[in-house]
């Protein structure tokens, strides 16, 4: 028996494979047994959570018209920070903003290392806070980085939304005319980052950060500002809350925020972390503790600057660092 015959004997009547029917069957199995797909590891979900924070902040922060010279008016400029608890379902269900329009980065933020905090101050105009005391586990001098101001526009595009919905046979809620005609102008930074231990590279993929991650980060950034040339905050909020991916629980939390006009919202993944209100240097902020042991962070807003102290430290140590900042 030669190899050709062996191969021929292993052949069989091969009817064409119906991939579409196979996919329907697969979807049915997933639906019938509530099979959960691949969940990214905790660190990656944190990245998603942080990006979600930005999404939520962009879309649900309040309206505070501050009189801008051009046709844009400010709809978001945080002066305080609050948390909303989100479940895994909320996280994966958040609308994909890229389906709603086009983001154009008009000024790419540039980052570079600065020799001293004074040099960083001269470059950014931000007065960097210095830690008076550090836990024993944090060793060596901080590396100092500056990030320049970044700007971009987000133009809503109903045609794009309809096209992406058609691809998955879905009918989205209609985009209100005021929203469809709007462009948002988003700006953030500049910022100063002090990094102890490991390495910090804002351009690196956060998913690739592992053992080399810093043990402590102290970051200060000019608060982001979002302006609109059309839709008001109320119109944007109503429209986004009508999306099928927004759970009623998440919507209720967002609506319950007392002063949405000036509140930076940080979503807390319930299964990974817990958040609570703290006072840092006389200002109300939030502490986020990571239940997986990866780390914790404290965030507060003061004088138009968002401050973040984060690291692989316990709550007491981290708050100690934050309170020692001068």
């Amino acid at each position: 028996m030669d190899d050709t015959k062996l191969e021929r004997l292993l052949a069989s009547d091969e009817a064409p494979v119906d991939s579409a029917a196979g996919l329907r069957r697969f979807r049915e199995t997933v639906g019938a047994h509530a099979v959960r797909g691949y969940a990214p590891p905790a660190r990656r979900r944190w990245t998603q959570a942080l990006a979600a924070a930005a999404t939520v902040a962009v879309l649900f922060a309040g309206l505070s018209i501050t009189g801008v010279a051009d046709s844009f008016f400010t709809i978001f400029q945080p002066k305080q920070v609050a948390t909303v608890a989100i479940g895994t379902g909320d996280l994966t269900g958040l609308p994909d903003l890229s389906e709603f329009g086009t983001l154009t980065v008009t000024t790419q933020p540039a980052y570079r290392q600065a020799p001293t905090l004074d040099a960083a101050r001269a470059e950014t105009g931000i007065a960097p806070l210095r830690a008076a005391t550090l836990p024993a586990s944090v060793t060596g001098d901080a590396r100092i980085y500056t990030v320049s101001r970044g700007e971009g526009t987000f133009r809503f595009d109903e045609t794009k939304l309809r096209a992406s919905a058609d691809r998955v046979s879905r009918t989205p809620p209609p985009m209100p005319a005021a929203v469809a005609a709007s462009t948002l102008h988003v700006s953030g930074g500049p910022a100063v980052v002090q990094s102890y231990g490991g390495s910090f590279d804002p351009k690196a993929d956060p998913r690739s950060m592992s053992a080399g991650a810093p043990t402590l980060l102290i970051a200060q950034s000019k608060a982001p500002v979002i302006r609109s040339d059309g839709a008001s905050f109320e119109e944007l909020r109503a429209y986004m809350l009508s999306q099928p991916g927004i759970s009623p629980r998440l919507a209720a939390q967002i609506k319950a925020i007392g002063d949405p006009a000036q509140t930076l919202i940080v979503p807390i993944p319930m299964d990974l972390a817990s958040g609570k209100s703290v006072t840092v240097r006389g200002v109300r902020g939030i502490f986020v503790g990571d239940s997986t042991g990866l780390g914790s962070a404290v965030v507060w807003v003061a004088d138009g600057v968002v401050n973040v102290v984060a690291g692989s430290l316990g709550e007491k140590e981290l708050l100690g660092v934050a309170d020692s900042l001068r």
């Binding site: 062996l6 697969f26 797909g37 990006a51 962009v58 996280l91 269900g93």
Partner: protein, 181 residues
């Protein structure tokens, strides 16, 4: 605020469970090949589809659809899954083969040659179930039309080793067939 803001999440479809777009693309690109790999081993389209569905389900639960190793992973899973099924059913197959030979004998123009072919096919598949798993996988993957490079990726060896592995596998299979034929 950076471009990362827009990379988040999806809107779930209200009725049918919506799978990630990347996963559906992967399914569309690889499902037919995964079925064919399993079919080479099993000789049965229905069982091969079951194995393919299982392979995709295992991948769906534990791996990101955009992983660069997605296709080779699925090919290997199809070969392993089908070989497991084959080993589990080999006694049953022997019985069914006899039935098939009888059916063939009464239904085709040249009943004797069809019956012989069916018997030979059954023997080869039984032999495939008995040779080492790696050899059986190499044969299943290569005979289902994968290139040397694709077979190498699926079983995790260098492409220049495939020629040797394939020859050894064919030799092992031939010996196993002769031993029991």
């Amino acid at each position: 605020m950076s471009a990362k803001v827009i990379e988040l999440g999806t809107i779930p479809a209200p009725r049918e469970p919506r799978l990630p777009v990347a996963f559906e693309r992967l399914f569309d690109a690889e499902y037919a090949r995964v079925v064919r790999i399993a079919q080479r081993v099993l000789g049965d389209a229905t069982e091969a589809e079951d194995v393919a569905q299982e392979a995709f389900m295992s991948f769906y639960r534990a791996h990101p659809a955009e992983a660069p190793y997605a296709a080779p992973w699925l090919h290997a899973a199809a070969a392993h899954g089908a070989l497991n099924v084959l080993r589990g059913r080999k006694r049953r197959v022997a019985r069914e083969t006899n039935d098939a030979i009888e059916r063939a004998a009464s239904a085709v123009a040249d009943p004797e040659s069809e019956a012989v072919l069916s018997e030979e096919r059954a023997l080869v598949r039984e032999a495939l179930a008995r040779i080492p798993a790696k050899s059986a996988s190499v044969l299943a993957l290569r005979y289902s039309g994968l290139s040397y490079a694709e077979v190498a990726q699926a079983i995790g060896v260098k492409a220049d080793q495939i020629g040797t592995l394939l020859r050894r596998a064919e030799e092992a299979l031939r010996k196993e067939v002769m031993r029991n034929g």
